[in-house]
C-alpha cells in the first residue's frame, strides 16, 4: 500500500521568502504524484501533478515540484511566497492503476506574514 510523509507540519514565512515543502512517498510501483492546496474554508484544489516525463513540473500560481525517483520525493517549491499563499498544502500519491484513490499526506500549514 502507498503512504505519504510530509515533513513540515507548520511553516511560517515572511512575504518574498522562498518556500520548499518536503514530501516522500512509499510504494514499489509506478505512481502519479500531486500537490493540492486548501485555502481557509475552501475545498481542495490541484496545484500540480506528475505522471511521467520531465521530473520538474510547473503548476499554478508560480509553484513547481521536482520528482526525484531515487529519493521517492516530490518536493514543492516557490521562489517568492505571497500572503495569499497562506493555506494547507497536501502531497498525494496514487498507484498508476485505473480507479485507485489518492493517498494524502498529513498536510503542511503555511502561514505567510506581510
Amino acid at each position: 500500500a502507498q503512504s505519504v510523509s510530509q515533513h513540515n507540519h507548520h511553516v511560517i514565512l515572511s512575504e518574498a521568502a522562498s518556500l520548499e515543502l518536503g514530501c516522500n512517498y512509499s510504494y514499489g510501483g509506478t505512481v502519479n504524484l500531486f500537490w493540492y492546496v486548501q485555502y481557509p474554508g475552501q475545498h481542495l484544489q490541484l496545484l500540480l501533478k506528475y505522471f511521467s516525463g520531465d521530473p520538474l513540473v510547473k503548476g499554478i500560481k508560480g509553484f513547481e515540484a521536482e520528482f526525484i525517483k531515487s529519493k521517492f520525493s516530490f518536493n514543492l517549491r516557490k521562489p517568492s511566497v505571497q500572503w495569499s499563499d497562506t493555506a494547507e498544502y497536501f502531497c498525494a500519491v496514487q498507484a498508476n492503476q485505473a480507479g485507485t484513490a489518492l493517498i494524502f499526506g498529513k498536510g503542511t500549514t503555511l502561514s505567510v506574514s506581510s
Binding site: 502519479n32 500531486f34 486548501q38 475552501q42 475545498h43 481542495l44 484544489q45 490541484l46 501533478k49 505522471f51 494547507e88 497536501f90 496514487q94 498508476n96 492503476q97 485505473a98 480507479g99 485507485t100 484513490a101 489518492l102 493517498i103 494524502f104 498529513k106 498536510g107 500549514t109
Partner: protein
C-alpha cells in the same frame, strides 16, 4: 455550475442520530469517492465507487454506508453517530477506465456530533 456539490455544507446533530450527506457531480465522471478530514486536517479515503459499483472500502465502521443510485451521485449515510465522527467529509470524482489522475473535490460537509 458547481462540478461536485455536496449537501448539507454544515450539519450539527446529537450522538446516536442517523444522518446522510449527499454528493452529486456533473462532470460525467465514472468514479466517485468519499474522504474524511479529521480535526488535524488529515485526509483519509473511505469509499470509492466506479459506475455504481463499490471498488474501495477502507477500514470504516459498518455504521457508514455509501449508496450510489447512479454514477453521478454518491451519498453517505451514517448510523448511530459518535463524537469521533465529527469531521469534514469531502466527496470527489474522477474519470475512470484507463485514466488515472486528478480528483475533483466538492466543498466539504462539516459534521459536528454533540
Amino acid at each position: 455550475d458547481t462540478a461536485v456539490s455536496q449537501t448539507p455544507k454544515y450539519l450539527v446533530t446529537q450522538m446516536g442520530n442517523d444522518k446522510s450527506i449527499k454528493c452529486e457531480q456533473n462532470l460525467g465522471h465514472d468514479t466517485m469517492y468519499w474522504y474524511k478530514q479529521d480535526s488535524k486536517k488529515f485526509l483519509k479515503i473511505m469509499f470509492s465507487y466506479n459506475n455504481k459499483e463499490l471498488i474501495i472500502n477502507e477500514t470504516v465502521p459498518n455504521r457508514f454506508s455509501p449508496k450510489s443510485p447512479d454514477k453521478a451521485h454518491l451519498n453517505l449515510h451514517i448510523n448511530s453517530l459518535e463524537l469521533g465522527d465529527s469531521a469534514v467529509y469531502f466527496c470527489a470524482s474522477s474519470p475512470s477506465g484507463a485514466y488515472t489522475g486528478e480528483l475533483f473535490f466538492g466543498e466539504g460537509s462539516r459534521l459536528t456530533v454533540l
